[in-house]
C-alpha cells in the first residue's frame, strides 16, 4: 500500500468518523424535543464532534487528502453546534432516566478529551 493510499484511507475513515456524530447531532437537534434526551446529551455529542475535529486536523495527511473535506465537515459541525444551541432551551437540564449519569459522564469525558488533545497538538511542532 502506497503512502498516498494510506493517507486517503486514513482521511476517509476519519472524515466518516467525524461526519457521523456531527450529522447525528444536527438531525437530533432539528427533530425537536424528542431528539436529544437532555442538555448533557447535547453537550456530550457536541464535545465528541469537537474532539473528532481536532483528531482529524492532527492526524489526516491534509497535503494529500482534499482540504475541501475539512471545510465541508467544519460547515456541518458549525450547523450542528448552532442547531444544538437552538434546541437547548427546550431540553431538560437532566432527564430523569437510567442513562442520565452516563450522558453526564460522557459529556465530561468528551470535554476532557477535547481539551487534552487540543493542548497536545498545540505544543507539538
Amino acid at each position: 500500500m502506497t503512502t498516498t493510499a494510506i493517507a486517503w484511507t486514513v482521511g476517509t475513515v476519519l472524515a466518516l468518523i467525524w461526519a457521523l456524530p456531527a450529522g447525528k447531532l444536527l438531525l437530533l437537534s432539528l427533530r425537536g424535543p424528542s431528539g436529544l434526551a437532555d442538555r448533557w446529551d447535547a453537550l456530550a455529542r457536541l464535545f465528541e464532534t469537537g474532539f473528532l475535529m481536532a483528531v482529524s486536523l492532527a492526524v489526516v495527511v491534509w497535503t494529500v487528502f482534499p482540504v475541501a473535506v475539512w471545510y465541508v465537515l467544519t460547515a456541518l459541525t458549525a450547523a450542528a453546534a448552532g442547531a444544538a444551541v437552538l434546541r437547548l432551551p427546550d431540553l431538560p437540564a437532566r432527564a430523569d432516566d437510567a442513562k442520565a449519569s452516563r450522558r453526564r459522564l460522557s459529556a465530561l469525558g468528551n470535554l476532557a478529551l477535547l481539551a487534552g488533545f487540543t493542548a497536545l497538538i498545540a505544543v507539538v511542532p
Binding site: A58, V59, V61, W62, T63, W70, A78, V124
Partner: protein
C-alpha cells in the same frame, strides 16, 4: 428582546464561532513558491511538473555534459534540504571506497566489526546490507521503538533519536527474514555506516566528511547531531499535515538518512558521480536483481522509457529528494523539496522525458 430571539442569536453566534475556528485552524496545503530563480528554460519545464501535489520550496539541478542548469522555487542554490535516504548512496560510496582501500571486503560479516556476537545480524555481510538483501527489518523490531517511532512521525518529530548502543541493541533483537531477497532496511544501512566507521577507527560523520564531502568540496553539506548544529536559517520542512516538521538529526541512523545538503553541493556530488571522480563510484555498478531492475550498493538501476537510470530517492518528516543519473549520456537531475510529497516522477521526467534538455 424575546427569549427566542436571544436563543437564535446565541445559536448563530456559536455556529459562526465554530466555522471561524475551523477556518482559522484549517490545514494549509502550500503551493509551489512563485519566487523563481535560475535558468528560465529549466524553470519553464519544471513548473508544470509541480502543479499537482503539495510543494513549497523546490531546488532542481540539471547536469548535461559540461552544462549545469539550476532552477529554484522559493529558494536558491544555497538553500539546505534534508536529503533523507539519498544519504544511503553516500554510505554506499564509503563501502566501495573502503573495499578499494582494503579495510573491508564486501563479504565482511557485520559481527566482525560490531559487537553482535551470537545474533542473526552478526552473520550478514556488508554487501547484503548495502543492497537491502540482508533480511533485516526496515526498522527496529522492538515494540517500544515501533510505538515511539510511529508517534514521532505523527507529531512531526524525529523518529531516529537513538545512539550507537541503542542501534546495536535493535540489531541484536532483529531476526533475518528472507535473507538474499530484496527487503529495504534503514536499520541495515545504519549498521553499515557504523561498521564502516568502526573499520576506519572513527565515527560516521567524520568518515563521510573526510572521505567524501571534503574531497568533493561539499562544504555546505551537514550532518547535524543536535539542533545547535543546524544553521540559524536552516530550512524547516513541512509535514503531511502542513505543520512545521522537526529536523531529523544525524545520530545512529545518519548513514541511512541524516545528511542535509544544498543544490550547489549536490551538483558537485552528481557531477563527481558522472565523471567517476567520486570516491567509491563502483557502488553505482548494478550487481543484483531487485524489484523493477537491479541494485548496486544502494543505487537502483531501472529502465525508464528506454534509458538506464541510476537513482535513489529520499524522504524525511518534512523533505523529499531524488537523484537520477543517465550515466551513459552524462546527464543527471537532482530535485530537493521541503515538503513530503515525492519528487521522483519530476526528476525522471526532467531526465528522460520528451522535454528533457
Amino acid at each position: 428582546m424575546s427569549r427566542r430571539t436571544l436563543t437564535v442569536a446565541a445559536a448563530c453566534l456559536v455556529a459562526a464561532l465554530v466555522a471561524a475556528l475551523g477556518i482559522a485552524v484549517a490545514p494549509r496545503a502550500p503551493g509551489l513558491s512563485a519566487e523563481e530563480t535560475g535558468d528560465p528554460g529549466l524553470r519553464d519545464r519544471a513548473r508544470p511538473l509541480f502543479a499537482d501535489g503539495t510543494y513549497n520550496r523546490v531546488g532542481i539541478v540539471e547536469i548535461d555534459g559540461d552544462t549545469t542548469r539550476h532552477a529554484h522555487f522559493g529558494a536558491d542554490e544555497g538553500t539546505d534540504y534534508e536529503i533523507g535516504s539519498v544519504t544511503k548512496t553516500m554510505t554506499a560510496l564509503l563501502l566501495a571506497d573502503a573495499v578499494e582501500r582494503g579495510e573491508v571486503t564486501e563479504d565482511t560479516r557485520l559481527g566482525d566489526l560490531l559487537d553482535l556476537d551470537g545474533t542473526p545480524a552478526a552473520e550478514v555481510t556488508l554487501a547484503e546490507l548495502a543492497s537491502h538483501r540482508s533480511g533485516l527489518p526496515r526498522l527496529s523490531p522492538r515494540l517500544r521503538d515501533m510505538v515511539s517511532g510511529t508517534l514521532e512521525v505523527y507529531r512531526g518529530g524525529d523518529p531516529y533519536r537513538v545512539g550507537p548502543d541503542t542501534l546495536l541493541a535493535q540489531a541484536a533483537a532483529a531476526e533475518l527474514d528472507g535473507r538474499g531477497e530484496s527487503r529495504y532496511s534503514n536499520l541495515g544501512h545504519a549498521l553499515l555506516g557504523l561498521a564502516l566507521a568502526r573499520a576506519a577507527g572513527t565515527d560516521y560523520p567524520s568518515l563521510l566528511r573526510e572521505r567524501l564531502l571534503d574531497p568533493l568540496g561539499m562544504d555546505t553539506t551537514l550532518l547535524p547531531a543536535t539542533e545547535d548544529d543546524l544553521p540559524e536559517d536552516a530550512t524547516a520542512g513541512l509535514t503531511g499535515q502542513g505543520r512545521t516538521a522537526a529536523p531529523w538529526l544525524a545520530r545512529a541512523y545518519a548513514p541511512a538518512g541524516g545528511v542535509r545538503s544544498t543544490p550547489a553541493d549536490m551538483e558537485h556530488y552528481a557531477r563527481a558521480l558522472l565523471d567517476g571522480t567520486a570516491p567509491g563510484t563502483a557502488a553505482l555498478e548494478p550487481r543484483w536483481e531487485a524489484p523493477g531492475g537491479c541494485i548496486g550498493y544502494a543505487w537502483m538501476l531501472t529502465d525508464t522509457d528506454g534509458t538506464d537510470v541510476t537513482w535513489h530517492n529520499g524522504g524525511t518528516g518534512g523533505f523529499s529528494a531524488m537523484i537520477a543519473l543517465d550515466r551513459e549520456a552524462g546527464r543527471a537531475v537532482v530535485v530537493l523539496a521541503d515538503t513530503t510529497t515525492g519528487v521522483e516522477a519530476q526528476a525522471l521526467e526532467l531526465l528522460t522525458g520528451e522535454e528533457a534538455a
